[in-house]
Each structure stands twice: as structure tokens, then as C-alpha cells.
């Protein structure tokens, strides 16, 4: 979301009209979110989401396996992907121009956290040539500066530069099959009255109370908590603090439910005997 804003701002510094906006789902930080940006020489009036982009930027490498990121991408469009792979090792629904950068590694080196948005902007500048690095620096400072401070914004600029230099452009493989995203979209008279829902089985899965069992949020994870059973004193602080109930009590202590653990690291932070380490 900040990346899209910084991109719109950078475009503005290069003499364009830039518009950026997010679309949030029901989840919190780290959850897959969509952000959109439009850049044009003319004033932009359209206020809709974008369904056929010229460029799709994928900040989280794991999404490529889960979501058909090339869906709607224009025939001559480009996919910019955070990955440690080579362009021709990437597999999408169809052959397409791709730009690849290992933004997670860059972010970890430069920022110390796996937040890849600034690095991906550098890759965008390199891959599309639409905006200059000079404008991008200003755009990042405009948006990141007031939020996280000038020093940290500068480090984000550094990450963008590094990504710019290491972006690899090529063509990906096609032919990957994706299951068409299914949604429960009942007519008005099929919805429970007042949306008062008990657990409801639909042809696209569970709906209503308890339905998140089917939403395996473990795919959001970059770091995974590993418990050292030797050190663990079974104080259960991790079990108390885990915001997702992803720490389970078992006969000999505690265990992480990796299907749902989002890798937030709160358990490792709270563990008084440092028995939990976060591993990439």
C-alpha cells in the first residue's frame, strides 16, 4: 500500500499524474492485500479497481504459487516478482515478460526486516523505465519519511537502488494451471436473513462461524518459529500470547501449528528462556 503511494508520488515528480489506492480484506498486517496505481500524462478520472494491468508487482514470492498473478495482465504487460529464481525458472499461467529480484534478501540485508515494498519499487523502475530512480527516491521520501522517519526512509531508498541494480528481466514459462478462485456469492434471497450465520457448508467451502479453519494462513509466513524442547520450561507464555491460537498444548509441552502460524514472531519475543527462534 505504501509502495503504491510512493509510486504515484514518484510518478508525479517525473511530471505524470499518479493515483494509488489500497483494497483491504478482513485481515491484519502481513495478510495478502491489493494495491493499485495508475500513471498517466493526463489527469486520471477513473476510480475503479484495475482488472487488466500493464504491470503486476508481486511482493510476496509465495503468492506466485497460490494466486494466478498473471490473470488479466495485458498481452504485452510485465510481471515483476520477488523471487530468488531466474526469470525462466518462474512458471505462470502463460508465457510473459517478467522481471525478477530477490527483494526479501535485499530487504533483510538493508532494512533488517522482510518488508519488500521499497525494493520492489526499484525493480519496477528498472523493469518498466516509466519512472526515474531520481523521482523514485523523492517518492519514497515523500511517503515513507513522515511515517517511519528520514533515516529509515533513506535505507528504503538504498533497498530500492540495490534492487534496481540486481533486477533480472526475461521471459517466464507458461502453462501453469490455477484453480479458478471460487467465492460464495449467493443472491440476496439466498443469504441468511440479517446475515445471522451458523456454520454453513457451501459448494465453495465453509462460510460463517468457524469457517477460517479452511483459511490456512501459514502461507503468509516468511519466518517460522522453531521451539527448542530442551530449553522450553513449558511456561505457556507463547500459548497465551499467540494472536492466532497457532500454539498447541501437547503432552510434552507446546507445538506450533504451521498450517495457521503467520510467523509474526510474538512467541519468540515473549519466550523468557529464548527457546523459540525464528527461522527463514
Amino acid at each position: 500500500m505504501l509502495a503504491a503511494q510512493a509510486l504515484a508520488s514518484a510518478a508525479f515528480h517525473d511530471g505524470y499524474y499518479g493515483v494509488a489506492f489500497p483494497f483491504f480484506g478482513a485481515e491484519r498486517r502481513g495478510a495478502p492485500v491489493l494495491a493499485f496505481a495508475r500513471i498517466d500524462r493526463e489527469k486520471i478520472y477513473q476510480k475503479t479497481q484495475i482488472y487488466e494491468p500493464d504491470c503486476v508487482v508481486v511482493l510476496d514470492d509465495k503468492l506466485v504459487d497460490l494466486v494466478n498473478v498473471a490473470e488479466g495482465l495485458k498481452q504485452d504487460g510485465i510481471a515483476i516478482i520477488n523471487s530468488s529464481k531466474k526469470p525462466d525458472e518462474i512458471e505462470l499461467e502463460r508465457e510473459a515478460k517478467v522481471a525478477v529480484v530477490d527483494a526479501t534478501t535485499i530487504a533483510l540485508e538493508v532494512l533488517g526486516t522482510p518488508i519488500t515494498n521499497s525494493a520492489m519499487l526499484g525493480a519496477f523502475a528498472k523493469a518498466t523505465g516509466i519512472i526515474s530512480m531520481d523521482a523514485l527516491e523523492k517518492g519514497i521520501m515523500d511517503i515513507f519519511g513522515p511515517r517511519i522517519g528520514v533515516e529509515r526512509a533513506k535505507r528504503n531508498i538504498e533497498a530500492a537502488k540495490k534492487a534496481y541494480e540486481s533486477t533480472d528481466i526475461g521471459v517466464c514459462k507458461g502453462g501453469r494451471m490455477f484453480e479458478k478462485g471460487k467465492k460464495w456469492l449467493p443472491n440476496w434471497d439466498e443469504l441468511p436473513i440479517g446475515l445471522a450465520t451458523r456454520a454453513l457448508k457451501t459448494d465453495v467451502g465453509l462460510v460463517g462461524i468457524g469457517s477460517f479453519v479452511e483459511n490456512k494462513t501459514g502461507t503468509w509466513r516468511t519466518f517460522r518459529p522453531v521451539i527448542n524442547k530442551e530449553k522450553c520450561v513449558n511456561c505457556l507464555l507463547c500459548w497465551f500470547y499467540c494472536p492466532d491460537g497457532a500454539i498447541k498444548r501437547v503432552s510434552d509441552g507446546v507445538e506450533v501449528d504451521y498450517d495457521y502460524c503467520k510467523g509474526c514472531g510474538i512467541c519468540a519475543n515473549e519466550c523468557p528462556v529464548k527457546a523459540i527462534t525464528m527461522v527463514r
Binding site: A26, K183, N187, I193, G194, L195, A196, R198
Partner: protein, 390 residues
């Protein structure tokens, strides 16, 4: 049992007779006696209900919403600033389809601060999804609270209802009211059977975070329910008439309208006074009629269009104003009468609780005759305002 009681007493008594099981309210003049009477009924053992003393009207509605969601019949009452404070919570029962019934004693909303009758408390709530009925006398207060439950709880409706009564003119005025026996009310209004309710052993989600893929359909459901209410209101009134011998004619009551040249549309207690004026004018050979606009939601579009077929001019009385645009009832009537080529004019009077007197209503009919002849060109007429030529 016929007794001489206030509108507030009639409201409290109706809540008891309807067997409301949870009452949560915060006292505010002129509603206070409603909750005091209910507290007395409970204390005397006459009424079997949980009374929740809450810290505000916002909390009152929150408590009532929660109670109703567990599947019990509930009641609350408020006025003026209290209703305004409740506004945020008013959107919730219609969407969750909780058939709550609330008495609203219409009082002016500050500033300037006043305690007397004006409809600027209720009118801003029109878009929350509540049904809204305005009553004319204390008998109608009692009768409509009983009817309100039956309408609201109908499976084709499942929307909450406000029963609006004029501050002091009804709330603190005594007049004879037939307070029906429990057995008769029970026969008319059986025990509430909720369509769905919260149960710990069978968990349910209500009012959860809902993305755009669903909210539009929820709003459509509410819209359909409000449209269905038109039919249900008429049917329940028929049943009530058969049981108790009193009928209110659904969304609107037509009084001497059939051969009328001009008609006046009124809300609330002004209707009562206007009935006498209509009689006097009829005695003088003037063919005047009266339309009691009972419901603001659902709004009686079709009924008003039928009336407009045969008259030369229509006047609409309002006890509140949407500044620069006339009164809310007038705005809605004009919308309903789109395409009719007759004068429709607005009379603003009784604002802030000023008495609406017989000469005021006479003047409204005079203006209507002038409008019918093309001699009155104004659309919005303030009556009894110093320095303003009506």
C-alpha cells in the same frame, strides 16, 4: 378496562401487555414516566421482565439489541437528544432483522434547548431502516405498541418499529384509554418466536465484518422487508380491528376524502384538531378532506397517489423542517406525487411545541382553496411565525 391515563402510561402498559421480557432505557423528559411506570409494574410483580438501568440511550439500544438477539421480546423508549444519541445503534436492528419496538416521545432537539413537541428528533432517523408510525391519541399509543410487535415480528418483515407520540400533548395528557386484558392481548399477540437467536451450544455469528461482496444484498433484503411491511401493516390492522373493535386503516387514514376538493395531510395530534375543523368547514358547505399520514416508513406512496387523482390541491402539515427545502413529510409527499399536475403545498407550524390552534388549521384550508384557484403561489408556508406573512 377503560381508564383515564397519560400517553406515557398507555405506552408502559402496552409494553407490559405485550409481555416484553427485557426493558433497557435511560430517562429523559418527556419519556421518563414510561420507564418509571414499567419499573413500578416490575416491582409490583405485575410485569415479568428484566429491567436494565443503563448509563445512556446509546447503551439502552445496545443492550436491547443484544437481548433481542437472544430471542426475547424487548422494549425501550426515548426522546429528542436521547434518540439522537441512539442514532448510531439504530442502524443495527434493521440489518440484523431484530423486531424491536420503541416508543419515541417526540421532543425538539437542541439547540435551542426545549422539551416540547417537534419532529426533528424522529425525522432524521428515516433512513436507519426502522418502521415509523405517528399516533394521534393515547388509545392509539396503546394499540400501536401491541400492533407494532405483531408487524415487526412477521417473518416477511423482521424490522424494528418506532411508535412516535407527541411530547406533552400525548405523553402528559390524560384521556380515556381501553387498556386491554392480558388474555385478549395474548390471543392477538402470541409468544415471540424468533427466526434465529444466539445459543451458546449452537454458536452463530451476527453482525460480523462484511466485505462489499455481501453488504449490497443485505441492504436489498432490508429494502424488500420494508416494502413487505406495507401489506403486513394493513393485515395486522384488520386483525386488530376484528379482535378489539378499533381500526386505524393501515398506512394512511382517509377522513372525508372521497368527494373532497382539497385535502390536508397531517401527522400526530394535529390530525385530531383538524378533524373538528373539517367538520365545521363541511357544515359550511366546503368540501374539505383530511389524510392522516400514519407511517413515514414504510411510506404510503400508492395510497397518496390514489387520493391525488380526485382533488384540486393537497396541503402537507409538518412539525419540523429540512432547512431550505420544507418539511420532511412534504418532501416525501411531493416525491410520491411525481407527475401529478396539482398544487402541493407545505404548512410549517407547531415547531418547538408551539400550539397549533384551530385558526391555524382554518388558514391551511383557506390557502389550499387559494392554491386550487391559482391564487396562492407559495410552496412552503410558515404559519404563526412572527414577521412572516403566511
Amino acid at each position: 378496562m377503560m381508564r383515564v391515563v397519560t400517553g406515557n402510561y398507555a405506552a408502559a402498559y402496552a409494553a407490559m401487555r405485550a409481555r416484553a421480557e427485557v426493558v433497557a432505557a435511560y430517562p429523559i423528559t418527556p419519556q421518563t414516566f414510561i420507564v418509571e411506570h414499567i419499573a413500578e409494574f416490575i416491582n409490583n410483580g405485575e410485569m415479568d421482565a428484566e429491567y436494565m438501568a443503563v448509563e445512556s440511550e446509546h447503551s439502552a439500544m445496545s443492550a436491547i439489541i443484544s437481548a433481542e438477539a437472544t430471542g426475547v421480546r424487548t422494549f425501550t423508549a426515548t426522546s429528542s437528544q436521547g434518540l439522537a444519541l441512539m442514532h448510531e445503534m439504530l442502524f443495527i436492528p434493521p440489518a440484523l432483522r431484530l423486531p424491536i419496538v420503541m416508543a419515541v416521545v417526540n421532543r425538539t432537539v437542541a439547540a435551542p434547548i426545549g422539551i416540547w413537541c417537534e419532529y426533528n428528533d424522529a425525522m432524521p432517523q428515516r433512513d436507519t431502516g426502522w418502521m415509523m408510525v405517528f399516533v394521534e391519541n393515547n388509545q392509539e399509543v396503546f394499540d400501536m405498541i401491541i400492533q407494532a410487535y405483531k408487524i415487526a415480528e412477521n417473518s416477511d418483515v423482521l424490522l424494528p418499529m418506532m411508535v412516535c407520540l407527541d411530547a406533552f400533548i400525548l405523553s402528559h395528557t390524560v384521556e380515556p384509554v381501553s387498556l386491554e386484558e392480558q388474555e385478549a392481548v395474548d390471543e392477538f399477540l402470541p409468544k415471540y418466536k424468533p427466526h434465529v437467536y444466539l445459543l451458546p451450544e449452537d454458536p452463530m455469528a451476527v453482525g460480523t465484518f462484511t466485505p462489499p461482496e455481501y453488504i449490497q444484498e443485505v441492504r436489498y433484503q432490508e429494502d424488500v422487508a420494508m416494502r413487505n411491511a406495507r401489506r403486513v401493516i394493513a393485515r395486522v390492522d384488520e386483525e386488530f380491528g376484528e379482535k378489539f373493535g378499533r381500526k386505524y386503516h393501515g398506512l394512511v387514514e382517509k377522513y372525508m376524502v372521497d368527494d373532497a376538493d382539497v385535502v390536508l395531510i397531517t401527522l400526530g395530534t394535529v390530525t385530531s384538531t383538524a378533524r373538528e375543523i373539517v367538520h365545521k368547514l363541511r357544515d359550511k358547505g366546503k368540501k374539505v378532506g383530511l389524510v392522516k399520514l400514519r407511517f413515514m416508513r414504510p411510506f404510503p406512496e400508492q395510497e397518496l397517489r390514489e387520493i391525488a387523482e380526485n382533488v384540486k390541491a393537497i396541503g402537507v402539515y409538518d412539525r419540523s423542517v429540512s432547512f431550505g427545502s420544507g418539511g420532511p413529510a412534504y418532501i416525501e409527499v411531493r416525491n410520491a406525487l411525481y407527475g401529478f399536475d396539482i398544487p402541493v403545498i407545505n404548512f410549517l407550524a407547531g415547531i418547538g411545541g408551539r400550539d397549533v390552534m384551530a385558526p391555524d388549521i382554518n388558514l391551511m384550508f383557506e390557502k389550499l382553496y387559494m392554491a386550487a384557484d391559482g391564487a396562492e403561489k407559495k410552496n412552503i408556508i410558515w404559519i404563526g411565525t412572527r414577521g412572516v406573512e403566511p
